[in-house]
Amino acid sequence: MNNRINQLFQSKKERILSVYFTAGYPNLEDTVPIIQELVKNGVDLIEIGMPFSDPVADGPVIQHSSLISLRNGMSVRKLFDQLSDIRQSVDIPLILMGYINPVLQYGVEAFCEKCNKIGIDGLIIPDLPLDVYLEEFKTIFEANNLHNIFLITPQTSAERMKVIDDFSSGFIYMVSSNATTGAKSSVTDFQREYFERIKLSSLKNPRLIGFGISNAETFANACQFANGAIIGSAFVKAMEGNEPLEQKVSGFIRSIAADI
């Protein structure tokens, strides 16, 4: 299977920068321009957030952007419309991230087929548990060339990590701390121990560290322990304000990694 996520990790082993943003925020039609600006600024992978009314795994910044996006009129159907021609201008891997209920209401099979048609490479659905994925979703994801990206946390046991590694394709999303998204973070001793432990645990999948990565320092730090990192809340916050989108995106990405 020719999946852009695998291609990325085959060609690039370190300092991979993945950016999350909430589709339809700050304005409904910003989705595609944000993707294009991110690509222009050298981002390696993009996670497109599908807003949900009750995002329990998210902190205040993404809660707020989700609320505004929904008020702007965003929906799964609207997002698919916006993305329908995205592969004419964008080559990097694209992932959709969101909660299970809107996917269920769209219909899992129809949802995955649509993703495949558009050229989506993977899905991150935090409230889709491993056992339900294996029983009800896996074959549908695979039939549509979609990787399911699993999360691991500092509390994930070694045995469970092994199982998650076995069923992962693409990469593993390492949640940096016991927290919802956007929680304040510098690398603590506790995290250092966790990062080292994972680094030494010889997982077969590549890893990106996310949650609490917000600036050049935290990005560089995370990159010491994994193939790269994911920035979400800090980027979403940077999309506030009245400057042109182009400036907001390039200003932010340059502040994280001038060399990218």
Binding site: D54, P55, V56, G59, V76, Y106, P126, P129, S157
Partner: protein, 393 residues
Amino acid sequence: MNYQVNEKGYYGEFGGAYIPEMMVPNIEELRLKYLEIINSYDFRQEFIGLLKHYVGRPSPLYFAKRLSEKYQSNIYLKREDLNHTGSHKINNTIGQILVAKKLGKHRIIAETGAGQHGLATATVCALMGLKCIVYMGAVDVERQAPNVKKMKMLGAEVIPAISGNQTLKDATNEAMRDWINNPVDTHYIIGSVVGPHPYPDMVARFQSVISEEIRWQLDEQTGKENPTRVIACVGGGSNAAGAFYHFLNQEEVELIGVEAAGKGIDTSETAATLTLGSPGVLHSSRSILMQTEDGQITEPYSISAGLDYPGIGPMHANLFAAKRAKYLWATDAEVLDAALELTQLEGIIPALESAHALAVLKKIKLKPEEVTVINLSGRGDKDMEAYLKHFGY
């Protein structure tokens, strides 16, 4: 038919544990240990002892003579309103605080709507000397002020949830986020038969004392363990789960849950989930909920903060789908009338939640020989402001 949860955590097609990875260790620990803990001799002794000497159980099963005369039938009230802290919620918090202690947790979090569950949680935390944090929608903090004051006096920290409609759903979101941020020392005492497996089953077991008592009390008073029907209000559905529990396999007993219709099921200001909802996942379990075509959860409305919730426990979704229980609804206006009726016929001021169960007496046909048990889940002290405002005393 088996209406209990199966080993995978499902009631028919409803239930499960749709949890983010961050919650897996806590939920797994609970899932693996809860039955062993709550079935142990030590636990049973302590639980039953506290229910008797601290809560004041058994709660009376009271033959409501004047209410029965009015409806020309036999109506009994299960007096959960007489429990310590004023509602059935304490049955569950006593159970869960003992579980939390066995698990070695020393920080307790809870969500609350009407404040009855928050109050019951703050109470058992004071009793056990554990730290207590209660999340409560900012709107509910306003409309249930007496309970907020009680929780604070009991030493709990009450944190207003300011997202969404600022009611029960939003308080639940905040409590889940707290648990994700505090995965090691904290136990989340969920107040209803909602949330990921094993919560719906665990809470139903703790509340099942209600129907256990109804059976022997009814036998004592009428010579029969089974009534014609049991009626209880449902938001998440914990008092109904407790009142139905030991009758689930007694197919001759009609089970009726009453949802909050708010301003009416043909308006957008309602919380009648089973009447208006469809299958989906909210708060980590698959059940029936009120949502848009896009799968966004819609904001509910009810005069009663305790029923102002867009979901319902998976056990009820299954009883509804299997047609084992019937789910009716009552509007705010019908509920206020029913509360006044009980107050003036029997001298009992019910909680707004419980008055939903009373309101359906006008909607069903009662025969003279029939026996109806209504679960009077809570007392009306906390709702005096709403009553005074409406009746203009």
